[in-house]
């Protein structure tokens, strides 16, 4: 039983290491996907969830809020009573920014004084923060123009603050993206062709003449590929942290754990593809084909919360979604293991589902 499994696993490790094509793929896939990443960015934006903290007693602040609400750029998910409460909601990930309207705002406007609006941005999502910031500045300018007709000239300064600051370099926020590609697409497509390659090279015909079961074939490949790619993954991770100097707020061990879980999930999904594909080309295309929506809807470019409800539901079952959430929260917000247990369990659960499906669907026949 176990003897056969171990023998199959060792065989797959040997084959993997002796196959220059698969090693090439590990090296070439990331740049190829990066190219896709750059050219594929062009989704329509929807409303960013924000928090409003209105400390003003007057009525004019509500005109500004109404303008923000109808702008199409923001969705006000909550009104917080104090600045601290507002910032806390951002910290907890309820919204990407808090807009704080100060005390005496209405009065300052009517008297023609200068006042300010504070935007507290979630720096963990650099791109969204930038979006909120720009939209806030524009909306405030629009407001100044229309309001000045009624109340005479006044000035509002938009002040920028960040939580998880001081600043997130783009390489920091890109780390999760690049690791997502490396840990999802690469292992998935690598293992997706594994069984169909055996079918094409006819070795499958001889293999299934030995008394092996489907689970031994599937698990043998799973363990072999996991061992080889985990090594690869740890190397990539080390490179990111120690060579590129990527900032890591949370515990690195937790990041490695999340990464390994995504890797295992990707391998199991790849095996499922492999079990049902007829040839290598088909398997490879299926892997890429699956990766595209994964990339679009998992929070890769844009938070899942900003998608339409049906795509959002789809996005939330994607392995990459759980990974990106967990990874970013640990890396950029400094969350610990306890905070990302749900994501880890989801990844584990999906891994088991994919493996079970692969074993179930693998046909020990040659037609």
């Amino acid at each position: 039983m176990m003897g056969a499994l171990v023998a199959l696993m060792i065989k797959d490790i040997k084959q993997l290491l002796r196959d220059p094509r698969s090693l090439l793929m590990v090296l070439l896939m990331p740049p190829a996907v990066m190219a896709m990443f750059v050219s594929g960015y062009g989704e329509e934006r929807s409303e960013v969830p924000i928090i409003v903290v209105n400390l003003d007693e007057g009525a004019i602040s509500w005109q500004l809020i109404e303008l923000l609400r109808s702008s199409g750029s923001f969705k006000i998910v909550a009104y917080a009573p104090t600045m601290e409460a507002g910032i806390d909601l951002v910290r907890r990930g309820e919204a990407y920014a808090a807009l704080i309207i100060p005390e005496g705002f209405s009065e300052s406007v009517m008297k023609g004084y200068s006042t300010k609006i504070v935007t507290v941005l979630d720096a963990a999502y650099a791109m969204i923060s930038e979006l909120v910031w720009q939209a806030a500045v524009i909306m405030v300018q629009v407001f100044m123009k229309t309001a000045s007709e009624m109340y005479g000239t006044f000035y509002i300064e938009v002040v920028r603050q960040t939580v998880y600051g001081p600043e997130v370099r783009s390489v920091d926020s890109f780390t999760s993206t690049i690791l997502g590609v490396l840990l999802h697409l690469v292992p998935m497509s690598l293992i997706a062709v594994s069984i169909s390659r055996e079918r094409e090279r006819k070795t499958f015909e001889q293999l299934i003449m030995a008394p092996v079961s489907g689970w031994q074939i599937v698990m043998g490949k799973f363990i072999a590929y996991a061992l080889v790619t985990i090594t690869d993954m740890v190397a990539v991770f080390g490179f990111a942290v120690y060579v590129l100097g990527v900032r890591v707020s949370g515990p690195p061990t937790v990041l490695i754990l999340v990464s390994i879980l995504l890797l295992l999930c990707s391998l199991s999904l790849g095996l499922l593809i492999s079990a049902i594909s007829r040839n290598q080309l088909q398997a490879y295309q299926a892997a890429i084909f699956f990766f595209i929506p994964s990339m679009l809807f998992s929070g890769f470019f844009m938070p899942v919360e900003l998608l339409s409800p049906s795509t959002r539901a789809f996005g939330r079952v994607l392995p990459l979604y759980h990974f990106l959430r967990a990874f970013r929260n640990v890396q950029l917000r400094g969350w610990g293991f306890r905070d990302i247990v749900p994501e880890c369990l989801s990844l584990l659960f999906e891994t088991l589902i994919f493996l079970a499906a692969a074993i179930r669907l693998l046909k020990l026949r040659v037609d």
Partner: protein, 311 residues
């Protein structure tokens, strides 16, 4: 006991019937040859017997075990050498053997012994560290047969084992097959070499997905010609006399004061002497009389081309 009992096998690929109602019964302990031109459906039939392909219809039992129900029991007692080399080209000779030894559940000592034995038997010792993909054609066939025999199967199914193999090695393979037969192993073999087919105890001749003829090599030849052929050299020209006998004249060639005739009879050994006597009774002097040995090749071609005797 029947080693293989395949009843009414049909395999349809799309709209093409590759195997069309094949029934094969292979007795335990025989060498059974499956012959037929390219595309006749031999490999497809074999794959169905081994449970590698699901038959469109029909049933298969190997040593009484239904392949559909309990394939794993069948696999433990069956060795298979596919038509195309199907071992791992990126593993060495020894690695391939060790892998399959583990898959067949051989324990440590058995593995060592068996591998040593087979490396020796198939002259692979000096190549054991070579990648299988780098072996020559004949070496690959040797390795492939060795792996098929690792677990000492009771039934050995070999699909064109001698394709691309040089004559000494072909002979060696057949010696092995006879040796295995002596040890009680049943062998199902396909081949395009008719001299090899002569070594089979029984032959099934396939053509266009059907069994065109089945029997011992001798029976197959009789079927192809409608009987045995006897050649005689007789004095004079007894053409008219011959018409009175049970034999059918196939060929008549007058040569001076003698004639050479080819006669078709149901069974040469039974008819040769009575026929000679009968002719002498008619005062025809028989100078020589002997059964003609027919080639299986000729029979094969007769049975599989044109409209022959096949149906």
């Amino acid at each position: 006991m029947l080693a293989i009992e395949a009843v009414n096998l049909v395999k349809v690929f799309g709209s093409f019937k590759a195997v069309d109602g094949v029934t094969l019964k292979v007795e335990e302990g025989v060498i059974f040859g499956l012959l037929g031109p390219n595309g006749a459906g031999k490999s497809t039939t074999i794959r169905m017997i081994l449970g590698l392909l699901k038959p469109t219809s029909g049933s298969i039992k190997v040593f009484g075990i239904d392949v559909e129900d309990d394939r794993s029991s069948v696999l433990k007692i069956t060795g298979y050498m596919p038509q195309h080399f199907s071992l791992y080209e990126d593993l060495t000779v020894e690695e391939n053997m060790r892998l399959y030894a583990s898959l067949y559940g051989l324990n440590g000592r058995e593995t060592e012994e068996r591998i040593l034995e087979l490396l020796d038997e198939f002259m692979l010792k000096e190549f054991k560290g070579r990648l299988a993909g780098k072996l020559s054609g004949g070496m690959k066939q040797r390795l492939s047969l060795a792996v098929a025999l690792l677990h000492r199967p009771r039934l050995l199914i070999v699909d064109e084992p001698t394709a691309g193999v040089d004559p000494p090695l072909r002979r060696y393979f057949w010696e092995k097959f006879r040796e295995l037969k002596k040890r009680g192993v049943t062998i199902l073999v396909t081949t395009h070499y008719m001299d090899e087919a002569e070594n089979c105890d029984r032959i099934a001749l396939m053509s266009k997905g059907k069994v065109a003829a089945e029997g011992s090599p001798l029976e197959i030849k009789r079927l192809a010609y409608g009987g045995d052929i006897i050649e005689m050299v007789v004095a004079g020209n007894p053409r008219e006399v011959l018409k009175e006998t049970a034999a059918k004249v196939l060929d008549f060639e007058e040569n001076g004061s003698y004639s050479r005739v080819r006669l078709l009879v149901p069974d040469a050994s039974e008819y040769l002497i009575p026929l000679t006597r009968e002719l002498e009774a008619y005062n025809v002097k028989v100078v020589r009389a002997y059964p003609v040995s027919l080639s299986l090749e000729e029979a094969f071609i007769r049975l599989t081309t044109g409209d022959g005797v096949s149906s």
